[in-house]
């Protein structure tokens, strides 16, 4: 199996899906000759031509609105938003249309659209190249929202997203585009939407996270074990909506303690939903408080971004709170 980083894996997934199904087209700003600013679509235009790898005029609302039409007709467009921070111009098209056309039309039309976009912080990108706005999409009925944390999942999840019959917001943590390498099978496989992955087995605290934070938590686990004697049961959600409640519940039956980690701001972040879900349905599983380690409720800063983002110290603090309760 070849070693790949996430960019290679995404590129491979796009190429294979385009070879498999001529309805799959790619569009966005600079996705053609430039191959995308992060090179995820590199080389596709040479294989599939400019009718299938479409450099669009610079408007996110145009990209998404245009792609919705394609999808209604039966194509499977994969629209790139150059940075998720630019998606807000397309928000109306995503929320009022991509997410609602199936419902609005009584099930007569559907929108098999993937909107993929680099997200999250950690590259000193400042406030408009670092955001984690997944909550807006998780909150919107009619959308799937996913975020892979490595090359294997990136390839399998992107393929599953392209084959889904409803719109998928596919978020790519750009800080790990090239830093995480894995063996990625050359054959066709999918990672099912809605299924999480157990990253570490441990009996003391369940940590639920996704995206680049999986690696932060994983890298902190040894220190936490050594200093606090606490073993983490680490879950990578992969799909943010609908999240894999079964894996979380199974883990909580073992640990009784829950920490949720995400870069997105704390207020109404996915952590709030998971905590509320457990409190509402399975309070008996908890020994104590659920702690969220999240982005602070400020704009994403350029200065001190690593202090702003969840990090080992903030996780360490949370583990101490849940263990000492």
């Amino acid at each position: 199996m070849p070693m790949m980083n996430m960019v290679d894996a995404l590129n491979t997934a796009l190429r294979e899906e385009m070879e498999r199904d001529e309805n799959v087209v790619v569009l966005g700003e600079d996705v053609g000759r430039r191959g995308g600013v992060f090179l995820v679509t590199e080389g596709l235009i040479d294989i599939f031509g400019e009718d299938r790898v479409i450099d669009t005029p610079l408007t996110e609302l145009g990209i998404v609105g245009f792609a919705i039409g394609m999808a209604m007709y039966g194509l499977r467009p994969v629209a790139e938003i150059q940075f998720i921070d630019f998606v807000y111009e397309a928000f109306d098209q995503i929320v009022s249309n991509a997410a609602k056309i199936r419902f609005r039309s009584g099930g007569m039309y559907n929108v098999p659209l993937v909107i993929r976009s680099p997200c999250c912080g950690g590259i000193k990108g400042g406030m408009h190249h670092s955001q984690s706005p997944e909550t807006y999409f998780i909150h919107t009925a009619g959308l799937y929202t996913v975020m892979p944390s490595g090359p294997y999942d990136a390839k399998g999840l992107l393929k599953a997203s392209i084959r889904a019959d409803d719109p998928v917001i596919f978020l790519e943590p750009k800080s790990i585009y090239r830093t995480v390498k894995e063996e990625v099978p050359e054959d066709d496989y999918i990672v099912e939407i809605g299924k999480a992955r157990k990253v570490l087995e441990g009996g003391d605290v369940t940590v639920v996270t996704y995206g680049a934070m999986v690696h932060m938590v994983k890298a902190s686990a040894e220190l936490i074990r050594d200093r606090l004697g606490v073993e983490l049961d680490l879950i990578d959600l992969r799909t943010l909506y609908p999240f894999d409640r079964e894996m979380i519940l199974e883990s909580l039956e073992k640990t009784g303690r829950l920490i949720i980690v995400h870069e997105a701001p704390k207020t109404l972040g996915l952590g709030a939903e998971i905590a509320a879900y457990i409190a509402e349905n399975h309070p008996e599983l908890l020994y104590g408080p659920v702690i969220r380690v999240a982005g602070f409720d400020t704009p994403f800063p350029l200065a001190h971004e690593k202090l702003y983002m969840p990090n080992t110290a903030r996780l360490y603090r949370a583990v101490k709170i849940v263990m000492e309760y």
Partner: protein, 378 residues
């Protein structure tokens, strides 16, 4: 220097976008070149316009009776039927929400429209939203209520048609208010850049609820805006159904060749924006009275009577025939049972989502309690 002297712009295109193309005037007198469209087509257009007018009246009546939640009156804009009439059944249409005539031309019956308006058990859109109509079997997409959202969709659909190598086109309707939105600018620009088979029809009825066109934009015409994106563009007397038909024939032909086309339909909304609106707050009765003379159905009738296409008393007969027919349908439609109570859990996703399954269980438990308590909510 006037716009017409601008260098690098084709003078003929500019005149088309800044002039007003008209075949018959408000008294039904031929003032332009009368195209050879045949008696059959004229009669069809008249019938569709009468049907739209009659249905509009019935929907208003049903709204006043409290049966229909809200209605967007169509009176004055019925000549839109001329734009859709030359389409093929396999072309796609993205109508706006004030387009009864469009739905009828596409084959939707008054009864289907009434079922929709009343969102009864036969509502094809399953109670999803008010005042919108569409059906896949007529290749007609129900419109999003945020105005203009459908413009880039139509361009995307027509791109996909071109990509698939079929010779169908997409036609999209929207109002003058929508031309201020990003959807309009993005949509027109994409159509021009990708040469999509799209016909745009802007129903410029002068009023976006209470805001007149003069406060919406300062461009010399909406067609001129389209021209500036590189689309061939024409401003048409949109109360002249023959001019609308003729322009659409031209536009559809060009779109089928991959040349997107824009029609600004100059018309006037004689009624309120919706039944929830009160136009006396923003425009004068005199203005409406003055504009009634120009309305499209009166004009077509006068033309057909004047030139011998319609005998004495024939119009009244046609009108009465449809009026009685719709009355019968309305009686049936109001008696039909409502949609099931859990209908809104349908069509959110194509597959089952555990979140919705759990919420549906909660909903069913609450329905049992509701029934046990003998309460009705809704």
């Amino acid at each position: 220097m006037s716009i017409l002297d601008a260098e690098g712009i084709d003078k003929e295109s500019l005149e088309k976008a800044l002039g007003i193309y008209r075949v018959i005037n408000e008294e039904g007198v031929v003032v332009g070149e009368l195209p050879d469209i045949g008696e059959e087509v004229l009669r069809d257009l008249l019938h569709y316009m009468v049907r739209a007018r009659v249905l509009d009246e019935w929907l208003l009546r049903l709204q006043r009776l409290g049966k229909v939640a809200i209605h967007a009156p169509n009176k004055g804009q019925e000549a839109i039927v001329g734009a859709v009439y030359p389409l093929r059944p396999d072309d796609w249409v993205f109508p706006s929400y004030r387009d009864l005539g469009v739905y009828l031309v596409r084959g939707m019956s008054e009864e289907e429209i009434l079922d929709r308006a009343l969102y009864n058990i036969d509502d094809p859109l399953r109670g999803s939203d008010f005042a919108i109509y569409g059906h896949r079997k007529y290749n007609m997409v129900p419109t999003p209520v945020p105005v203009g959202n459908q413009i880039p969709h139509a361009v995307g659909v027509s791109y996909a048609m071109k990509y698939k190598g079929v010779d169908t086109i997409a036609m999209v309707m929207f109002g003058d208010g929508a031309t201020s939105r990003g959807d309009f600018h993005a949509g027109l620009n994409y159509a021009a850049v990708f040469k999509t088979p799209t016909v745009f029809v802007c129903e410029n009825n002068q009023w976006a609820i209470s805001v007149p066109l003069s406060k919406q934009m300062r461009s010399p015409s909406i067609a001129f805006r389209a021209l500036s994106y590189g689309l061939e563009s024409i401003r048409v007397d949109g109360n002249d159904v023959i001019a609308m038909y003729t322009s659409a024939v031209e536009g559809i032909l060009k779109a089928r060749r991959g040349e997107p086309f824009f029609i600004e339909m100059l018309t006037y909304r004689l009624g309120s924006h919706t039944t929830a609106d009160d136009p006396s707050r923003y425009r004068s009765e005199e203005e409406v009275k003055r504009m009634e003379r120009y309305e499209p159905l009166r004009r077509l009738r006068l033309f057909m009577e004047r030139y011998g296409y319609l005998g004495e008393g024939e119009y009244e007969e046609i009108y009465k025939m449809y009026y009685d027919k719709v009355e019968e349908m309305a009686r049936r439609a109001v008696e039909k049972p409502p949609l099931p109570r859990d209908v809104f859990f349908e069509n959110v996703y194509g597959e089952r989502i555990w979140v919705l399954e759990e919420e549906k269980r909660e909903f069913e438990e609450s329905l049992k309690i509701l029934d046990d308590l003998g309460m009705e909510v809704d």
